[in-house]
């Protein structure tokens, strides 16, 4: 077992983990943060995407020990105070999710994409999300949601973060 210390969704964590434990399993099984899902064995589907120091990574391909000393944000940590993050709100507004399995990873990938490129074209959104698979939506509304989120944040001009203008979590 190896001792790791890291920050997850703003909280300091300290745990003993098996060196081969994947970050996604650490988040799900040790911390009980189960929004990130495992959808494949080959780093292809992106259902496990989280932010590591602000960049989107596939947490099935990061060992928990590699995250030691770093900051992790999951879908659970994106909204705050009952408010959806603008990207989450846009996914709801544009019906960018159906079964929901790819959704937490897709949202985190979109947040990562918009932080690097706040005003992407449709083609850039599609390219940016190529590593995140969705079997339900045909991608149409996911792309619209990301473009809408970019539009919504263009007024404020900040990088993706908590936005007081976002929709309430409750329906």
């Amino acid at each position: 077992m190896t001792r790791i210390e890291l920050t997850v969704n703003g909280e300091k964590r300290s745990d003993d983990v098996e060196p081969r434990l994947l970050l996604v399993h650490y988040l799900r099984d040790v911390l009980g943060l189960r929004a990130a899902n495992v959808g494949c064995d080959t780093t292809s589907c992106g259902a496990c995407t989280v932010l590591l120091d602000g960049k989107s990574v596939k947490s099935c391909t990061v060992l928990a020990v590699q995250a030691a000393g770093h900051e992790v944000v999951t879908a659970e940590g994106l909204s705050s105070g009952g408010q959806l993050h603008p990207v989450q709100a846009a996914f709801r507004q544009e019906h960018g999710l159906q079964c929901g399995f790819c959704t937490p990873g897709m949202v985190m990938a979109a947040v990562g994409l918009l932080s690097e490129n706040p005003h992407p074209t449709e083609e850039q959104v599609r390219t940016g999300l190529e590593g995140n698979l969705c079997r339900c939506t045909g991608y149409h509304n996911i792309v619209r949601a990301v473009l809408a989120a970019a539009d919504a944040s263009s007024g404020g001009g900040d990088q993706p973060g908590r936005n007081p203008a976002s929709a309430e979590v409750t329906a």
């Binding site: 899902n37 949202v107 698979l133 339900c136 619209r144």
Partner: protein, 770 residues
């Protein structure tokens, strides 16, 4: 104003977007405390005799509690083939293979461990000795190597009688075209793989959490496989991460996990890997079609024959039944005077075939729409014109086809013309002509596909399709709906709440939908075959209306008025005495006095038949064969739309999956039956970069079969888009002499087809470098 027909945002979304859905692997329940983990040992060989299974080394591995083999399950009955009476009864499956393995992925043993990682390690230590046999593959499997010796053949059975095909079917046709085409094997690949969590209570009752499309059907199959009374089983459906037809019933692995939990007296859990999912969850399609089409030189189709070979995979499951639906929809939306269809079902050393989005109907449409294009090309008439000339005239009284399908309502020519107009078809043809004339390397293809499909069919044995719903209003002003349908992305929580809200005057966000717990909802048909809204939704509306009637009688007593004098004010969810607004009683008060709950069953006279036309535009690089899907324009008429947001989402998803089959996806085996597409790194599952945004045009021809006027929309997208995209790519290179390319119309296949045409016809304008 009614909420019906409006774009209500999904009430289920906030959870999925923040904490995520609670899928089977996410379920935390005290009953599952200390659960063992099950890992399956799967055959690495397509066809072999099992000569021995040695579990001793695995039993020594860390964390291993038990290793279960087929011998341990000898008490459990074998799984008979689907379509009893039609498929050879010797083609049965053991829950774990005993004497033989019949496909790569066939489960041979189950390793039970304390933790999941230990299972991954220990399966490597189970020593299975195999005596390999020749692998049987393809659509014409010879009987030299039999999958089931007792059957004496690799032919499972026939739908229809080949000896009854008419030799003179095409007599009188000026033109007859025939082609053999493959509707390839694809993987449903829901993002959530299969899983199970099972526990037996002290009273001998099983509770199992399983991702499924209908808990009641899963319960029935689980009871049969385990040989226990259905009353001893409770199935709970957590959130389900996509299904697409492949999560109906109880698979052998689900049964084994439940059996292990009972055998060891501890809860047991299983989540398959994506590798397992791609080799051991049922695949879809896998039909070979020989189409023959005949007619006049001016474009009248006079005769059509469809000869199907269904590859059922190693064990005949739902795949063996799919040809029934394909045959039912043989002539699609066309008025073809003479038509016939038959199917042969064969077994091969491949993953069993099951339902996949459309399940038998996309195959019928793909075959027919390719045949129409082959015919149009042969006579030199625009394929859209050939379609218009042969589509059935509009009808509002049901139309019976020669294959027994009873189409409820249809207006096919309008759907075609709307799609062509939305695409600006003449402009596309003009651009295509210009590119052909200029010899451009990048040629334009325009594909058209018209379809009609069947949704919400019953059990196929004459029982009218039906569904139940329960609606209860609570004293606190909320309401609960119980449904026999089983959403896994379709948005029933929102849609069913809209229907109840519209009757009860209770806001959508105060209405909770429950499904998929067989103790709470013992009966139900689940979600599949695009049945849910037209039957399950209609049942919710009917239950809410019946609840209002019951409430009205109670309100009359409460207000000491005649029920006939009461009006229900939806804005206040209260009954008023007409002309006396002071005399009022809300539903909440009535619910406070006495439980206000209604269960009802909605029965539909028959299946409904949505229809439409898809137009696909592709660009094909004639030097490399590269295909770029530029546009997909669709008209999908599924009757009256309850929530356009949800209906469009269903269309988008179907279009994406259908297009993916046309030009990307295929499950591939090598000559020895080894799967070559067993990961998402190898299976070319469609991503966001390969498809465009879709262009949807509206059309709504109501059905009279339910009060909503709604038909099914879940599968239409995949039925129209597949042949539209395939036809489009072939159209792009048709002027080079190419007549057909099998799906997926990949770059390699397109390039090879161009080369073959050049060798046959010599280079033509358009193939030259520019």
């Amino acid at each position: 104003m009614s909420i019906l027909g409006t774009r209500v945002l999904r009430t289920e979304d906030p959870k999925f977007l923040t904490t995520g859905g609670v899928y089977t692997e996410d379920v935390v329940d005290e009953r599952l405390g200390g659960a063992y983990h099950v890992t399956f040992v799967r055959s690495p060989i397509a066809h072999a005799r099992i000569t021995s299974v040695d579990v001793s080394a695995a039993l020594e591995a860390p964390g291993v509690v038990a290793v279960i083999t087929g011998a341990d399950l000898a008490e459990l009955p074998a799984i008979p083939p689907a379509a009893a009476g039609l498929i050879n009864p010797a083609m049965e499956q053991r829950l774990l293979a005993t004497d033989k393995v019949r496909y790569v992925g066939d489960a041979v043993a189950a390793v039970v461990t304390e933790h999941p990682y230990q299972g991954e390690d220990a399966v490597e230590l189970v020593q299975v000795d195999y005596d390999p046999l020749p692998a049987v593959l393809g659509y014409d499997p010879e009987d030299s190597s039999l999958l089931f010796e007792a059957a004496g053949t690799n032919v499972g059975g026939y739908w229809g009688d080949p000896s009854q095909l008419k030799a003179d079917l095409f007599d009188g046709c000026e033109v007859v075209v025939s082609h053999t085409i493959v509707n390839q094997r694809v993987a449903p690949a829901p993002m959530e793989t299969r899983a199970a969590a099972a526990v037996w209570a002290d009273n001998g009752r099983l509770t199992a959490w399983i991702p499924n499309q209908g808990a009641q059907g899963t319960k029935a199959e689980m009871a049969t496989r385990l040989g226990v009374e259905a009353s001893q089983i409770r199935i709970i459906t957590p959130d389900v991460g996509g299904a697409f037809g492949a999560k109906f019933g109880a698979d052998p692995e689900h049964v084994v996990v439940a059996w292990i939990a009972r055998h060891l007296g501890r809860p047991a859990r299983w989540t398959e890997t994506r590798y397992e999912n791609l080799i051991a969850m049922t695949h879809g399609r896998a039909q070979q079609h020989t189409v023959t089409i005949g007619g006049s030189r001016d474009g009248n189709v006079q005769a059509y024959r469809l000869e199907i070979v269904q590859d059922a995979g190693a064990y005949p499951r739902i795949g063996a039944v799919l040809p029934m639906l394909t045959i039912l929809m043989t002539t699609g939306p066309y008025d073809i005077p003479k038509a016939e269809a038959i199917a042969k079902v064969v077994v091969t050393n491949t993953t069993p075939i099951g339902a996949y989005r459309g399940a038998g109907r996309p195959e019928a449409t793909a075959a027919l729409e390719r045949a129409i294009d082959l015919f149009a090309t042969e006579i030199g008439v625009d394929p859209a014109d050939v379609r218009r000339k042969n589509l059935l005239a509009p009808f509002t009284e049901p139309h019976r086809t020669a294959f027994g399908a009873l189409y409820d309502t249809g207006d096919y020519v309008v759907a075609l013309d709307k799609a062509l107009a939305a695409a600006d078809y003449p402009a596309l043809r003009k651009e295509q002509a210009e590119r052909r004339a200029s010899g451009s390397v990048r040629q334009l293809g325009i594909g058209v596909a018209s379809y009609v499909e069947i949704t919400g069919m019953g059990d196929g044995e004459g029982t009218p399709p039906e569904e139940n719903a329960t609606v209860e209003v609570h004293p606190d002003g909320t309401a609960t709906i119980l449904t026999g349908t089983s959403p896994h992305g379709q948005g029933h929580a929102t849609a069913w709440a809209m229907l109840a809200s519209d009757e009860l005057g209770i806001p959508v966000e105060k209405i909770t939908l429950k499904w998929g717990d067989t103790d709470l909802i013992p009966e139900g048909g689940g979600t599949g075959g695009s049945r849910s809204l037209q039957q399950g939704g209609a049942a919710v509306q009917q239950a809410a209306q019946e609840l209002i009637e019951v409430a009205k009688q109670r309100a009359a007593a409460e207000l000491e008025a005649s029920a006939a004098d009461l009006v229900f004010d939806k804005t206040r969810s209260a009954f008023n005495v007409a002309g006396d607004p002071e005399a009022s009683v809300p539903l909440t008060q009535l619910a406070e006095n006495e439980r206000l709950v209604i269960r009802t069953v909605f029965s539909q006279p028959g299946a409904t038949f949505p229809f439409g036309t898809h137009v696909a535009v592709t660009e094909v690089d004639t030097e490399t064969g590269k295909v770029t899907l530029q546009r997909v324009i669709t008209v999908d008429d599924a009757g009256v739309v309850l929530n356009p947001l949800l209906a469009e989402g269903q269309r988008h998803g179907g279009i994406g999956q259908g297009a993916a089959q046309a030009f990307l996806e295929e499950v591939v085996y090598d000559a020895d039956g080894n799967p070559l597409t067993a990961s998402f790194a190898d299976y070319p599952i469609v991503s966001a970069t390969e498809v465009p945004s879709y262009e949807l045009a509206d059309m709504a021809t109501p059905t009279s079969y339910n009060p909503l006027g709604a038909k099914g929309i879940g599968e239409a997208g995949s039925i129209g888009s597949t042949p539209a995209v395939q036809n489009s790519v072939i159209d792009a290179v048709a002027h080079l002499g190419v007549r057909h390319i099998d799906m997926p119309v990949s770059s390699r296949r397109v390039w090879e087809a161009i080369r073959a045409a050049q060798q046959e016809h010599g280079p033509r304008a358009g193939s030259e470098h520019s």
